[in-house]
Structures are given as C-alpha cells and as structure tokens.
Amino acid sequence: MMDTVIEGLEALGTTAPHSLMPSVLAATGLADGYVRVPGPSGDLFVAFSPDGVSWIAPAGNGAEFEAAFRHHVGRDIVPVATFPPKWQRSLDRALQTGRLGSLPVDLRSVSPFQAEVLRAITAIPPGEVRPYAWVARQVGRPGAVRAVGTAMAKNPVPVVVPCHRVIRSDGTVGNYAYGPEMKRALLTAEGLDVTEMEAEAVAGHRLTGSDTTHIYCYPSCHHARRVTDKHRVWFHDAAQASAAGYRPCKRCLPLEAAA
C-alpha cells in the first residue's frame, strides 16, 4: 500500500512549460523579452529589458526580428507570453494616445546625443509634424540636422518615440526606417491629412498664419488648424512671414529666419 503512495507521487514529476526559460531570462535581464501587440497601424513586436521598452518593429517574422535585435542591440532576445504587468497600462496608453507618458524606454543601444534627440521628439503632439532642423534647434545643436536624421533612423523604439512625426524641411514626409508608407499610415492614423500637407508643401506653403493674429505656425500645429480659410495666409519660409509682420507661434515654435 505504501508503495502505491510513493509510486503515485513519483509519477507526479513533469516538465516545466516552454515559457518558463524565456520568462526567467527576460526577468533577469540575461535576454530581452518580446511580445506581439496591436499597434496604431498593424501589429508590433515590442521588446523590453528590465529598464524599459528596448526595441519596436512591425510584427513579421520572429526569427528576423530576433536577428535584427541581436545585431543592433547586442543582447539576446526571447519571445515571452506576457509584457511586464507593471508597464502594461503605460504601453497600452502610449499606443492609444500617441504620447510616451510614463512608459519607460531603454535607449542604451544609441549614443547619448541620439538618446537626447529621441527624448526631445516625444514633445511633438500626435497628428503634428516638425522638420529635422526644428529638432536640431530643440536640442541646442541647430547645425546638427544630419545627426538628427541619423538619430531618427536609429530610433530603437519607433511609434512610442514618434520619429514618424519628424519630416523634411520642405514639408514632404521623407524617409522612415520601415518605409515611408508606414510613416504615412502612422500619421494618417493620428488624424493628419498627409496628402494635403504634401500638396501644400509642393506649392511652397510650408508655414501658415492668420491675418487676425499675425502669428505663423507649422501647418499641422493645433493652432494653425483652427484658422478659417478666410483668414489663412501661407508663407514659403520664416523670412517671408516676419517681413509680413508675423511672429512665430509659441506652441509649435517654428524656426525663425536667420538674423
């Protein structure tokens, strides 16, 4: 009879679930973990380290994503069943609102300057865009426009750090690490009429103002979008706007003409 008990107990040995090892590696930081989540324009793979979200890419082939991560970040990565619960709300909110909010991001894979640039662009509101040169000025390096472009290209956490909201100074959408179509889709999902914006830009309309306030803005600025057609004026550049007696908007902070 005692043998029955012991045999019964010994038969209770089983194997650990396949998800245990990856979740341990992710929790210890020996590897980053990643999950698939719905994004504003298609599913995303979202990777995380103990410090925060470390890599984001459009969801596709898992093996390719892992290879790209190892190559660019230099750490191991494993798929896991769940995103860390302590950050889940912040992630949901960031993806829904287009604002980073309280979601921590791990920017160790880029240089300190690039991290500073990426922090600066989180101030661009959803549905609005700013030129590369604007970002360069915001970080106090007005001459570093190309370096800003590089920082955008190296953004490890697109969508939540909105490099899709940084466009060319001529008002066209420009490049995107995952293709200009994704950049357009993200901006469209935020309520920006990209086609109209580019049409105006091609016509030389890069800044807009109101003849009642004599303030000029970037066309996507929340203030600029409230101006009625009757009062709207267009400018090619800041020099033209200031010559007409207009001052820059204090919200979207358009670049001013060189002195």
């Binding site: 010994e10 209770l12 194997t15 650990a16 090892m21 341990v24 210890t28 020996l30 069943a81």
Partner: protein, 190 residues
C-alpha cells in the same frame, strides 16, 4: 544512491561554471533544475499558473543572489537545497496572501493558441487533480516534505536546508505525510 551521486556531480560541475561566470552559466542552471522546481511547486500549489509564476520568481531571485555572492559562497552551495529554500519561502508567502481568495480556474481545454505554441496548454489530468486534492489535505509542512522527497527527489538533508528544519523533523514529516496520504487512499477505496 546513484541518483544522489548524479545530483552531486551535476552540482559540482554547475558550481564550477557559476564561479567562472554567473551570466554564462545561469541558463544551464535553469535548464538543469526547471523541471524539478516546476513539478514540486505544481504539486504544492495545485495549479500550473501559480507554479510557473513561482518558478520564475525562484530563478530570478536565485540569479540576483548569485550575482552578489563571492566565489567562496558559490563554492559552498548545495544548489538544489538552496534553490528550494527560495522556492519554499515563496510558495509559503503565496499561500498566505492568496488563502482568502478563491483558487484560480484550472483550464481543462487548451487556451487560445499562444505565440509559444499549443504544447504549453495548461492541462491538468483528472488523476493529477486527485493527487492535488489529497496533498492539499495534508498539513503544509508534511505536504512540502513529501513533495520534495518523493516528487522532486531531494535528500532529507536537502529538504532540511530548504525548509530550515532539522533533518529528523523532516524525516518524521515525510513519514507522517505518506501515512496521511495512505489513509486518504484507504478512505477512497471504501
């Protein structure tokens, strides 16, 4: 006896690897002990979700400790007994905080296929459920001792280390636990 010697050999090899570098050795440590740690926790807590969660926490805490241990401390480790010290404490704390809540629903059909594939469907057989019920009827100390001895296969010394009790007490707990299970089985056959 062979089982004990195998465990000792495995321990000393693992310890050499850990002394050489915790980060490189740790995945191998998880691989070597995850089945035992998960099995034991599953039989103690009675459901896979909590068992997996506790197993993850056990290894995560073990890693953090190993990172802080000087080499001589790592050399002195008996890995299984030490791992189970962490696991037993976590399981005990979990039981305390969840005793007022109803137990989580155990899935009897596979959940929606996850990214990790269907093999991890949290299925528990009827026979396992019966054993969980029998084990749950034991006193906690006896349940822990019986599971560690006869499901996980720890020695009395390892169980004594894991539960921070004298090995004589552990031996008595195992015997009383087995007697309790036998009485439950006898009752079931009537």
């Amino acid at each position: 006896m062979t089982a004990v010697m195998d465990a000792d050999t495995r321990d000393s090899e693992m310890i050499n690897l850990l002394v050489a570098g915790v980060d490189d050795a740790f995945p191998a440590l998880v691989r070597a002990f995850e089945d035992g740690v998960f099995s034991g926790l599953l039989r103690m807590v009675g459901n896979r979700a909590d068992a997996e969660d506790l197993a993850q926490e056990t290894f995560t805490r073990a890693y953090r400790s190993l990172r802080d241990f000087p080499p001589e401390r790592i050399r002195a480790l008996r890995i299984r007994g030490w791992l189970w010290t962490i696991a037993v404490n976590l399981a005990r704390n979990r039981a305390r905080t969840t005793s007022r809540k109803p137990p989580p629903l155990e899935l009897t059909v596979p959940p929606v296929a996850s990214a990790l594939g269907p093999e991890d469907a949290a299925l528990i057989t009827e026979a396992e459920r019966e054993w969980h019920r029998r084990l749950a009827a034991l006193r906690p100390a006896q349940r822990t001792a019986v599971v560690l001895r006869h499901v996980v296969g720890l020695s009395y010394e390892e169980i004594a280390e894991a539960t921070e009790r004298p090995s004589g007490t552990v031996k008595a707990d195992v015997h009383r636990g087995l007697a309790g299970l036998r009485a439950i089985l006898d009752e079931e056959e009537r």
